[in-house]
């Protein structure tokens, strides 16, 4: 049943997201685009753009969005959002309970030291998998990519303005 599948998928995504929203993109992409094929690559890119522009964490935003597009109703959104948040409750309750032990847990720190470089690869993979024919239709797309990269990296322009500028460019060019 689609609701159970949605629940399991987003619970997994919540449970295995280390290192913030961008790392989460890779997990969502793998589950939602590659495995279940609920959303295609360019709709997924649109969803990230919308998530970036609307308030709230990308994990919650994408769960709500995918939940709706898969089921066509608000119940799907609610289930996916609940499922992506549930691991936080379980884990934070556990940590709060074992607070003093957790604070200096060497095993956990050791595991995290191995996870961090993996997260770097996850984000790289998320970006690479979005380089598709639908997202990069011609050389202008690459020019937009280059300018967007440069002004965010070196110009420190807020990502929201980058998306707005790219949207205006798209409107004028295409």
């Amino acid at each position: 049943m689609i609701y159970i599948q949605l629940f399991i998928t987003f619970f997994k995504i919540g449970l295995f997201t280390f290192g913030g929203g961008y790392a989460m993109i890779s997990l969502i992409q793998n589950e939602v685009v590659v495995k279940h094929q609920w959303v295609d690559a360019s709709s997924f890119t649109d969803m990230i753009a919308i998530s970036q522009m609307t308030p709230g964490p990308i994990g919650i935003n994408s769960a709500t969005y995918v939940g709706y597009s898969v089921t066509g109703n608000a119940l799907g959104s609610a289930i996916a959002t609940f499922a992506v948040s549930l691991p936080s409750f379980i884990i934070i309750f556990l940590i709060a309970y074992l607070y003093s032990q957790f604070k200096k847990n060497k095993w956990f720190d050791a595991a995290l030291s191995g996870i961090k470089p993996v997260v770097l690869g996850l984000i790289g993979a998320a970006a690479t998998l979005l380089v598709t024919k639908e997202n990069f239709i011609d050389w202008t797309s690459w020019a937009i990519f280059g300018v967007a990269f440069a002004i965010t990296q070196w110009g420190k322009v807020n990502p929201i303005y980058v998306i707005i500028l790219a949207g205006v460019a798209g409107y004028l060019i295409y």
């Binding site: 919540g14 997201t17 280390f18 913030g20 929203g21 961008y22 753009a49 919308i50 998530s51 609307t54 308030p55 709230g56 964490p57 994990g59 709500t64 709706y68 597009s69 959104s77 609610a78 992506v84 948040s85 936080s88 409750f89 884990i91 934070i92 309750f93 940590i95 709060a96 050791a110 595991a111 191995g114 996870i115 961090k116 470089p117 993996v118 770097l120 690869g121 996850l122 984000i123 790289g124 993979a125 970006a127 690479t128 998998l129 639908e134 997202n135 797309s141 937009i144 990519f145 280059g146 967007a148 807020n158 929201i160 980058v162 998306i163 790219a166 460019a169 798209g170 409107y171 060019i173």
Partner: protein, 178 residues
């Protein structure tokens, strides 16, 4: 004011004003929770922050659950998480409902043709700062490269690679370094 209403409205405010990812709203949470409501002191806030960062899950939800728990137990944590998730839930649901009908519009199509490559750039940007911050050496810098290849070329699930990374970290610290 009822404490639950206070928790809910504080976190709803945080949720509603977080644009562009969890870390952007850190100063806002700090002002609300430490300065205004005095639910936590500076040191407790930093502890909650450190744990929320290293624990899996959505960062803002982790923070909300932890702070809510401190303020008013399990019920407090549920209310806090609900508060921080609700504004984005409502906003995205409305957009999702209407976006499908706008999608075929020509103007929307050309706007999104411009936006898509920029989104890919936005995802790629943190890579530079993060890799500098990690002090990777000749061997550890292979980990992100192998991860990328496994996902892109072999479609391996990121979950397995994360588990392998965690085991590798434990293996290294407890066997090799000793």
């Amino acid at each position: 004011m009822n404490i639950y209403i206070e928790i809910f409205s504080t976190f709803a405010k945080i949720g509603a004003f977080t644009i562009g990812g969890g870390y952007a709203m850190l100063p806002l949470i700090q002002t609300e929770v430490v300065t205004k409501k005095k639910w936590l002191n500076e040191k407790e806030f930093l502890d909650v922050l450190a744990i929320s960062q290293s624990a899996p899950g959505v960062f803002v939800i982790n923070m909300s659950v932890f702070i809510g728990l401190r303020v008013k137990g399990k019920a407090g944590s549920v209310i806090a998480a609900l508060g921080s998730a609700l504004p984005s839930f409502v906003a995205i649901l409305l957009i999702a409902m209407f976006f499908d009908s706008f999608k075929e519009n020509e103007v929307v199509q050309s706007v999104f043709k411009g936006i898509r490559p920029a989104v890919v750039a936005l995802i790629a940007v943190p890579l530079i700062g993060m890799s500098k911050g990690m002090n990777l050496n000749r061997y550890t810098s292979l980990i992100p490269i192998i991860t990328l290849l496994l996902i892109v070329a072999f479609r391996i699930s990121p979950i397995y690679i994360l588990i392998a990374g965690a085991l590798l970290g434990i293996f290294y610290h407890y066997l090799i370094k000793r």
